[in-house]
């Protein structure tokens, strides 16, 4: 196992640029295969004589780690293949540095998933944050990007701080930070809840949970596209991994229902918030970033539901919702990476990431357009693709909620499922907007005519991810057994053979209860399409003539600019959810000589939560600067006073 990690890290120093990314893709593939094999194996542990004396690194490969390594391998395979082609144009020195950081990033993510003690976990976690920070600020000459990177680093560190405290509580005064010791530490319910809240905060900061999401829509657009893809597709999942690890593994046995309700509520808020903001974005990458927030919300809803079922010992149902959560993580890794890479290609070919200046790219970039179409349909939660399956499983789990013995919870569940469904339906709106404006219609700018399709490496990467979406969508019965290892490990039950007794059908609990067969689904549609096509040809004719589109009787007046802009498309959403947004408008009336129309949508939370926080911190640090005079005597005095205080303390 270590060999794989070492290989990734070792390759990174290699200067043979052309070979690095393909070989890292190869290692990803290796990782994928190994983790797939590891799932059925007993737990592997390994102690490395590295690190501080007396504090060796513990590594452990159990089912949960293996699943997330599988996710990492699968997504990074696509991204690395893509990167092999993507960074050709970069200047050499930057590229070398980038290469190093990229692989450090991958390796540290793998280490996070393998770590078996809090110490290594945090080291890997921090190196993941730092390497991704440097990746985000690859174009560090642009001030906006530096600002985005700063926000990211700040929130990442807040989160890391919370995690540090969380592990401190978890060890329960024994001073042993190996996970095995943490598992056996018996915490009182108060400390357990504190640890859970800290973990939720710490991992939430990484995942983009509601009040801590602000870095996400800043950092994703700033980073180069393959990095955004990795950050969104995989790095956010490390937070999910950590949350699962702490709540279900380390805090095993004590989960009051309030935890689940809290996670569920936060998840719903995050999902609705993310999708509503995604709907009104006009920057492609910001749109996708907000959509990531939505998906993290859905994942958290799944975790919350699992916690609720697990609290009341409804283990089969907990397994069902956990399987939905894991499935969705896997799905999100595939389709979000795919979409970010597709956007990267568009960005590369046109230099434009404002939706309002694109259009009609399906003619210029068919490869990118068709693979991204698969990702779009998948993320919109449409059958027969993969996004639908995880949402389907989650809704099935929701339908079992009347079995919860708590009347208030049972009453709230329908409202919760309604909110979830609303978020999912709105995601379809967002995705139609995204795809329709970027790839369909007529080019809104003349320079788009020069756009060229992606190269061979890019195509390979996109193709792998799109194929993954299709596979996960069409063969759920082959995926569920993989998830079963994890659910059995975490909640003690699995969907088991019931789900797979017939490879054609997905039946999570009972065949009378619910079943779904994506292959059948696709088969019927495809055969009807083919039949209709030939029947119409046979019975009538296939005559076809090209002409201009309908111009309302005013010839030569149709212009590409008459199409909906991104803002126009999202206007109904803006209007319905108006209280959600903070909108600055500048709408002069028609008599103004040189009217200028402007509309800026800002994050409400930024204003409500962060501005006061910033002001507070400013004032605080203003007070502290007063201590700082630059006079060496004063500094010596400070040290002296500190020394005295410490002496009094240890006395």
């Amino acid at each position: 196992m270590l060999g794989v990690v070492g290989a990734i890290a070792g390759k990174s120093t290699s200067w043979i640029q052309r070979l690095v990314f393909p070989s890292s893709a190869l290692t990803s593939l290796l990782l994928l295969v190994i983790s797939l094999l590891a799932l059925s194996q007993p737990v592997d542990t390994l102690v490395l004589p590295l690190g501080l004396p007396g504090l060796p690194f513990h590594l452990r490969l159990d089912d949960l780690s293996a699943f997330f390594l599988l996710l990492l391998g699968a997504a990074s395979l696509g991204v690395s293949l893509y990167s092999a082609g993507y960074f050709r144009a970069m200047e050499n020195a930057t590229r070398r540095l980038f290469c190093l950081e990229y692989h450090l990033f991958l390796a540290s993510m793998a280490l996070v998933m393998l770590a078996d003690d809090a110490y290594l976990f945090l080291v890997a976690w921090e190196s993941m944050a730092l390497s991704s920070y440097f990746l985000v600020t690859t174009d560090h000459k642009i001030p906006d990007i530096r600002r985005a990177g700063f926000i990211y680093l700040l929130i990442a560190h807040l989160g890391a701080l919370a995690l540090l405290l969380c592990f401190g509580i978890l060890q329960g005064g024994h001073g042993d930070y190996a996970f095995a010791a943490l598992r056996n530490a018996h915490l009182s319910s108060f400390w357990a809840t504190t640890a859970f809240l800290l973990a939720l905060f710490g991992f939430g900061a990484k995942a983009g949970l509601l009040p801590l999401h602000v870095w996400l829509p800043e950092a994703h657009p700033a980073a180069p596209s393959p990095v955004s893809a990795l950050m969104s597709g995989v790095m956010l999942k490390t937070a999910i991994y950590g949350l699962l690890r702490i709540t279900f593994d380390l805090l095993r046995g004590q989960q009051p229902w309030e935890w689940g309700a809290l996670a569920l509520g936060l998840g719903l808020l995050t999902a609705l918030f993310g999708v509503a903001y995604a709907a009104v974005q006009s920057d492609m990458k910001r749109l996708l970033a907000y959509s990531s927030i939505e998906n993290i919300g859905i994942l958290l809803v799944g975790i919350g539901l699992t916690l609720l079922f697990h609290t009341y010992r409804l283990n089969l149902l907990a397994a069902l919702s956990l399987a939905a959560t894991l499935y969705h993580s896997l799905n999100h890794a595939f389709f979000k990476s795919l979409l970010f890479l597709g956007v990267g290609s568009v960005l590369h070919a046109t230099g434009e990431r404002n939706l309002g200046k694109l259009g009609g790219l399906i003619h210029r970039m068919p490869w990118v357009a068709w693979t991204v179409l698969i990702g779009t349909l998948a993320i919109a939660g449409l059958p027969p693709l993969n996004g639908f399956i995880s949402e389907w499983l989650l809704l099935q789990a929701f339908l079992f909620s009347p079995r919860l013995p708590h009347p208030y919870l049972v009453m709230m569940m329908p409202v919760a499922s309604a909110a979830l469904v609303l978020a999912v339906a709105l995601a379809a709106y967002v995705m139609v907007k995204f795809y329709g404006i970027v790839f369909l219609g007529q080019p809104r700018e003349t320079k788009l005519a020069q756009a060229r399709d992606a190269g061979i490496w890019e195509r390979l990467g996109l193709g792998w991810l799109a194929a993954g979406c299709l596979f996960l969508g069409l063969a759920p019965a082959l995926v569920i057994p993989i998830l079963d290892y994890v659910t059995r490990f975490l909640v003690g039950d699995a969907l088991g053979s019931m789900a797979t007794h017939n490879w054609l059908f997905l039946t999570p609990v009972l065949p009378e209860r619910a079943s779904y067969s994506p292959l059948f689904f696709l088969g019927v549609i495809a055969s009807v399409v083919a039949l209709t096509f030939f029947a119409v040809r046979r019975m009538y004719h296939g005559r076809l003539r090209y002409s201009d589109p309908w111009d309302c009787g005013y010839p030569e007046t149709i212009q590409p600019r008459m199409q909906d802009t991104a803002e126009g498309f999202s206007q109904p959403i803006l209007r319905i959810f108006e209280p959600f947004f903070h909108i600055e408008r500048e709408q002069p009336d028609a008599s103004t000589p040189r009217p200028r129309y402007r509309e800026k949508i800002e994050d409400r939370l930024w204003r409500l939560l962060y501005r006061p926080l910033i002001r507070f911190t400013d004032r605080l640090s203003g007070g502290i600067t007063r201590l700082q005079h630059g006079r060496i005597h004063l500094y010596l005095l400070y040290s002296f006073l500190t020394l005295l205080a410490l002496l009094i303390f240890v006395r």
Binding site: P407, Y408, M411, M412, V415
Partner: protein, 220 residues
Amino acid sequence: MASPFLGDLINLLAALLLLIAFAMLAQRRVLSLINLFAWQGLILAASTAVMAYSSHQHHLYYSALLTVLLKVLFLPWLLHRLIRQLNVKWDVETLINIPTTMLTGLGLVVFAFNLATPISQLATTVAKSTLGIALASVLLSFLMMITRRKAIPQVIGFLAMENGLFLAATSATYGMPMVVELGIALDVLVGAVILGIFFFQIREAFDSLDLKHMEQLREK
């Protein structure tokens, strides 16, 4: 005890009553509001009659009959006449927009249901589970009175609230004693008539039925 069929029927009717309460909350037109009110009365009468049949409480038949006469025929007729004479067919103006009102209503329903669960377990009647619905419709009608700006919808809200109370009374205890019921019926009647007279007076004084003009009456 009564057959499950009748219990189901009463539940269904109660659910319809709540449905109408919601529809009234969402309704923008005064005319439809009055019609909805009449329908609500009719459903209330039907549920009372079914309850009378299932529990063999004969006085409930009388109250059903009374409900039909008063709330399905007389009061709607009175209100129709009122708006014809006052010539007010405008759309209902609301203080809060309708989706928000509806969401609040949903919250109220959850609240009412949870509130009613322990009480209804104490009740012994066939229709004990409708208590939550009755409570919810009382709260919804109250909400309607709060959010409407004009006088007539407020009166209708008041009357609808009485419907909910009536349902609560019948579902929890098989109705109030006849004397009380007659008294309430009379109260409602007199109340409606007096309000009708008031409308004329308000309009004479302010040339409008918008209640915000009443704010001028406060002490400065």
